[in-house]
């Protein structure tokens, strides 16, 4: 019974070190700067390339468990789209999405006003609309390609689709100029790639948690199945960098970097220990076998 107890103590020390590695850089930022990568630049480029007034979809396909990674992306993309004068339509494949969208819209407006008291107001219904949550993933997106109104008879306030001026030029998904899905899993970005891009040729870009990011890279290809990808907190920090402000993601990169080093150190120690143990075992075996 001695073995597990020692390991429990070891475990708690590891936990404590991790808390310190994350908490200290939050309290005392190192002022580290991040560097942008081509994948994030492509997303930025897509938003940047379109003129004022075009309707676009930002889809909130995540829940609060991944807000640290995806909420800063949502805020950055909304700010960029608003600055370009795009009409933002929020949709959600996850039920928690509409709520995350509302929080993001509110925070972006507040931040823009904090920076510049005379910043433009972005009224609901004129500059953005929230169409709420629909289940069904790719089936539902395919429905949007036939008729947006059939899928979203009303927005979240209960206003009829036809009565919303912003949605006048949008009859089907094909009238949307780009879709950016912020996606924590299934349903999410993959469904948008397959349906919005694969079936209806609408440009799709995305932001995902770092966990799923490597799996989306095959879609970034000559056919532009995917226009760039923001992966995890780093991706969000890069987008903030491109927009020229330091948000929660950029600040988060400080503890992130320190914690990575700590994990690498853990792996190193673990391997040294295992190597020593193996050596000792071999010696003991040799001694035994004489």
């Amino acid at each position: 019974m001695k073995m597990p107890e020692r390991s429990v103590v070891e475990r708690r020390i590891v936990f404590l070190l991790l808390v310190l590695a994350v908490a200290l850089p939050i309290l005392f930022p190192l002022g580290l700067k991040t560097q942008s990568t081509p994948l994030t630049e492509q997303v930025y480029g897509l938003v940047e390339s379109l003129p004022e007034g075009v309707p676009v979809i930002i889809s909130f396909d995540y829940d609060p468990s991944t807000i640290t990674e995806l909420q800063p992306m949502a805020e950055a993309v909304i700010e960029h789209a608003w600055k370009k004068g795009h009409k933002v339509i929020a949709t959600a494949m996850w039920p928690q999405g509409p709520q995350m969208a509302e929080i993001a819209f509110k925070d972006v407006q507040a931040r823009m006003e904090r920076k510049d008291a005379a910043a433009k107001k972005h009224p609901y219904g004129e500059d953005y609309i929230n169409l709420g949550y629909k289940p069904g993933g790719l089936v539902t997106i395919q429905g949007m390609g036939r008729s947006m109104k059939a899928i979203f008879p009303t927005d979240i306030t209960g206003q009829k689709y036809d009565e919303i001026p912003l949605l006048k030029p949008v009859r089907t998904l094909k009238d949307i100029r780009y879709v950016i899905s912020l996606s924590a899993g299934d349903p999410g970005l993959r469904d948008w790639i397959m349906t919005a891009n694969g079936k209806f040729n609408v440009p799709v870009a995305g932001g995902t948690t770092a966990v799923s990011a490597p799996g989306f890279l095959p879609y970034v290809n000559d056919q532009k199945q995917l226009y760039g990808l923001m992966g995890g907190l780093k991706g969000a920090a890069e987008y903030e960098l491109l927009l020229g402000y330091e948000g929660t993601a950029s600040l988060g990169m400080n503890p992130q970097s320190v914690a990575h080093i700590l994990i690498l150190a853990f792996i190193l120690f673990g391997n040294i220990r295992a190597w020593k143990k193996r050596k000792a075992d071999r010696l003991a075996l040799e001694a035994k076998n004489g």
Binding site: R12, F15, L18, V19, V22, A23, I26, L27, S65, T66, I67, T68, E69, P95, Q96, P98, G132, Y133, K134, P135, G136, L138, V139, Q142, I151, F152, P153, T154, I156, G158, I193, M194, T195, N197, G198, K199, T209, A210, V211, A213, P214, G215, P218, Y219, N221, D222, Q223, Q225, G231, G232, L233, K234, T248, G252, P255, Q256, A259, H260, I263
Partner: protein, 212 residues
């Protein structure tokens, strides 16, 4: 009043955060309580959103405002109710009809869509002339994409014994897979750490006000 409630809200959030973290020490009543509260809130959340974002706009309000024009919607409503009968073991067989409709529809759609974007388009995306690039890095990289994809697919080919010459592409395939799993590993570590950053940031900033 509203300010007081905001402060109270932050303390509530901090309480739940710490209750969950307490599991790291060991399983305890705080964790069990927080866990079940989460289950309850989550279930209610799903219900409220299903009612307000799906059933009302897409079904009930259409039926209420224009019943005769939306008569056809009675069919999915009936199918939906049949679905609910799954709760009663004796009537479970009735739910097979709506289930079959859903499964048939989504199977056909995902078959067409994933075959196009994950098979056909991926195939086309691998048909690249590596020598059209000017930089050596791109040429080497593109060759790696072609070789890696083909060998990776061959690794999952089960109709041939992997002996002799056939062992080579399979080995290369597994190396590529391992590199990719390494990347995935690194990214996952990153994601998990990020989640912790968010929570500690909340505790240190919003709750304890240690940072401005």
């Amino acid at each position: 009043m509203a300010d007081l409630m905001t402060t109270l809200g932050i303390w509530l959030a901090a309480f739940f955060t710490l209750s969950i973290f307490s599991f790291l020490y060991k399983d305890n009543p705080f964790y069990k309580f927080a866990e079940q509260v989460f289950v309850g809130l989550s279930a209610a959340y799903w219900l409220v959103y299903t009612i307000y974002n799906i059933l009302i706009p897409n079904l009930f309000s259409k039926l209420l405002t224009d019943f005769s024009g939306n008569l056809v919607l009675l069919i999915p409503m009936l199918l939906g109710i049949m679905m609910l009968l799954r709760m009663f073991p004796k009537l479970q067989w009735i739910s097979r009809y709506p289930l079959a409709l859903m499964v048939g529809t989504s199977a056909a759609m995902s078959m067409l869509l994933s075959f196009k974007s994950d098979f056909l388009e991926q195939m086309a995306a691998t048909m690249i002339n590596p020598f059209k690039f000017t930089s050596a890095v791109d040429v080497v990289g593109t060759i790696m994409v072609i070789v890696g994809t083909l060998c990776g697919v061959f690794f999952f080919y089960f109709s041939k014994k992997q002996e002799g010459l056939y062992k080579v592409p399979s080995k290369i395939g597994i190396w590529f897979l391992m590199v990719s799993f390494g990347a995935s590993f690194g990214y996952t570590v990153m994601a998990r750490i990020s989640l912790l950053i968010g929570r500690l940031d909340f505790l240190l900033r919003d709750w304890l006000h240690l940072i401005k």
